[in-house]
């Protein structure tokens, strides 16, 4: 019981420090601004549509700009988490933490939870902007906004856990960032490739090509499971479709993915060590 209390205590202390650093830094606000700026283009397109056609019929108009805002916020979370451990390892501060009552689980959980808190702060700023935009244009709020934000937390969690794992693998910030860009680019590319394959009609292909495409499609399906992007896009689809089952499925899938990645991160960090290289 004591260990649990001490661990919680350590986690709390580290979260407080990390959150403070985020709150007083500029990264979080820049991410929120980019998210809002991107969303502004969507709002602008709505106003232009209504102006041009005199009418626009849409369910949950805030969903579309919110999707883009969530993508930006989730990317910020992923980038931030992908350097979280490597940055401290590179500077030696991670080792110093381990002089004290900090173990692998507590440091990883603390970093993860702080990422979620940062994400929530970004979403809070984004929400304030959305309130302003919705009120000044009279687009109005709907309950699906809250559903999307709630689901987005799970999506951010999977992005964060993935980023933390990458960060545990590497020892230098530069390597972390390069690896992150490479892997994310790879996952995005695979996603596009899979979507392209789905558009191909079997009747247009020879038998051998059909076989190759089938094998590739199956490989991609497996790899997609490992990509946090797929949870992000599936979650967005779930809200767009208004499908409760898909929504819950995505939430549970993200949760399972997050837990798995966090456990993997603990073992990876143990294997790699916490000492400054």
């Amino acid at each position: 019981m004591n260990s649990f209390v001490y661990r919680l205590h350590s986690i709390k202390a580290i979260i407080k420090r990390e959150a403070r650093s985020s709150f007083f830094g500029l990264g979080l606000y820049i991410a929120a601004t980019i998210a809002c700026f991107v969303a502004s283009f969507i709002f602008n397109s709505y106003i232009n549509t209504v102006q041009g056609n005199n009418i626009m019929v849409m369910a949950s108009p805030l969903n579309n700009p919110l999707f883009y805002a969530v993508i930006v916020a989730a990317l910020y979370t992923a980038i931030s988490s992908s350097t979280a451990l490597s940055r401290e390892k590179d500077k030696g501060t991670l080792e110093v933490l381990f002089y004290g009552p900090v173990d692998y689980a507590s440091i990883i959980l603390a970093k993860f939870l702080e990422d979620i808190i940062s994400f929530l702060i970004v979403m809070l700023l984004v929400t304030l902007f959305f309130v302003y935009a919705a009120v000044t244009t009279n687009l109005g709020f709907s309950i699906t906004y809250l559903y999307t934000v709630f689901l987005a937390i799970f999506l951010a969690a999977s992005m964060s856990s993935f980023g933390l794992w990458l960060s545990a693998l590497t020892t230098k910030i530069r390597t972390s960032i390069l690896l992150f860009i490479l892997i994310m680019g790879g996952f995005l590319g695979l996603q596009f490739l899979e979507e392209y394959i789905l558009t191909l009609k079997p009747e247009n292909l020879s038998l051998s090509m059909i076989y190759i495409m089938g094998v590739l499609s199956n490989i991609l399906r497996i790899i997609k499971w490992a990509s946090p992007f797929s949870y992000l896009t599936n979650g967005i689809s779930a809200v767009a479709l208004g499908s409760t089952s898909l929504y819950l499925e995505n939430m549970l899938g993200s949760l399972a993915y997050t837990v798995l990645l966090l456990v993997l991160t603990v073992y990876t960090l143990k294997w790699k060590g916490v000492r400054k290289p």
């Binding site: 205590h9 709390k12 420090r17 830094g25 500077k91 030696g92 110093v96 004290g100």
Partner: protein, 315 residues
């Protein structure tokens, strides 16, 4: 306080630490010495649980670290050779964070008290990135003392400091030891270790080759003791007779003083005083010249000597 049993660490084909059996007693200052690459830092990291041993046991406060990981860690203060600090934090914020981490009560009072002790209170709101090396080292010390640790583990605590800084740290260590804290200190500055340590352990090529008080180590290494005499009216015949004494190995003159090498089995200063006075000479000063720790250290490491008997070594 700390005890290792057959501690062993191997990296691929390199044996960093071999069969290490050291013990640090409560309340003592233990100097941990060894040349570069001997395995000192590896040993400290294993004690702290940052590196996992290949095999062997480590007991801290008579307990295995992992039986009470958080409880034990909360009682240990660590100062490393290089201070890795959060440069975007002020000294106060940094120490406040570690107070939170260790669960220190009345943290404001504690931080204030310790910063005053190291004369850094006026700079508490400066960013750590603006601190000099000496100041950073002091902050490291303050961090290690926040939680009133029972055990202080210091890895090269005075490395890179000027003489004033070294003195301040030395005083701090002695003060803390007087308060009952056990100090486990690894250092290259042998004179400092010699000055403040109750016992030393010497590590060479991953093996503990000596663990004892300095006097005992030196005694074990040397079969004779040098005694320096400043004598007036000491005629040649008396010198010859002195040289012929059974416990005297040799007599030389150096810079106007006589250097007598006697057997190390006991202290022969009384015998020498009696002889000189009986010879009619006038003894102005008698001084025992001991082997320094540096000389002992170099002797052990360069000649790869182990001062443990076969039984002590566990053979």
């Amino acid at each position: 306080m700390i005890r290792t049993e057959h501690l062993y660490k191997k990296y691929e084909s390199i044996e960093a630490v071999k069969d290490l059996n050291l013990s640090v007693e409560p309340g003592e200052i233990y100097g941990f010495l060894g040349p570069n690459g001997a395995g000192k830092t590896t040993t400290i990291m294993m004690i702290l649980g940052i590196i996992k041993p290949t095999r062997g046991k480590i007991l801290i406060f008579d307990k295995d670290l992992y039986s009470d990981y958080f409880g034990i860690k909360r009682k240990i203060g660590v100062v490393s050779e290089t201070q890795y600090l959060y440069e975007d934090m002020t000294a106060y914020e940094y120490l406040s964070f570690f107070c939170d981490l260790y669960g220190v009560e009345n943290k404001e009072k504690k931080i204030e008290e310790l910063l005053h002790r190291v004369n850094l209170y006026e700079r508490k709101d400066d960013l750590l990135g603006h601190y000099s090396r000496g100041m950073q080292q002091k902050i490291g010390f303050v961090r290690a003392l926040l939680m009133d640790p029972q055990l202080l583990i210091l890895d090269e605590p005075v490395s890179g400091l000027d003489p004033t800084g070294i003195r301040e740290i030395r005083d701090l260590i002695l003060e803390e030891n007087k308060l009952g804290r056990t100090v486990f200190m690894s250092s290259h500055i042998l004179s400092e270790v010699e000055r403040i340590s109750h016992r030393v352990g010497i590590l060479n090529k991953g093996m503990l080759v000596a663990e004892d008080t300095m006097d005992n180590i030196k005694k074990k290494l040397s079969s004779e003791v040098e005694i320096e005499l400043e004598v007036e009216d000491f005629d040649v015949e008396s010198q010859k007779r002195l040289e012929g004494l059974p416990f005297v190995n040799s007599l030389t003159k150096e810079d106007g003083k006589f250097l007598v090498r006697v057997k190390a089995d006991k202290d022969y200063r009384n015998e020498l005083v009696n002889f000189i006075s009986s010879s009619g000479a006038h003894l102005k000063e008698i001084k025992r010249r001991e082997m320094s720790l540096e000389e002992a250290f170099l002797t052990i490491t360069e000649k790869n000597i182990s001062l443990f008997s076969k039984e002590e070594a566990g053979e």
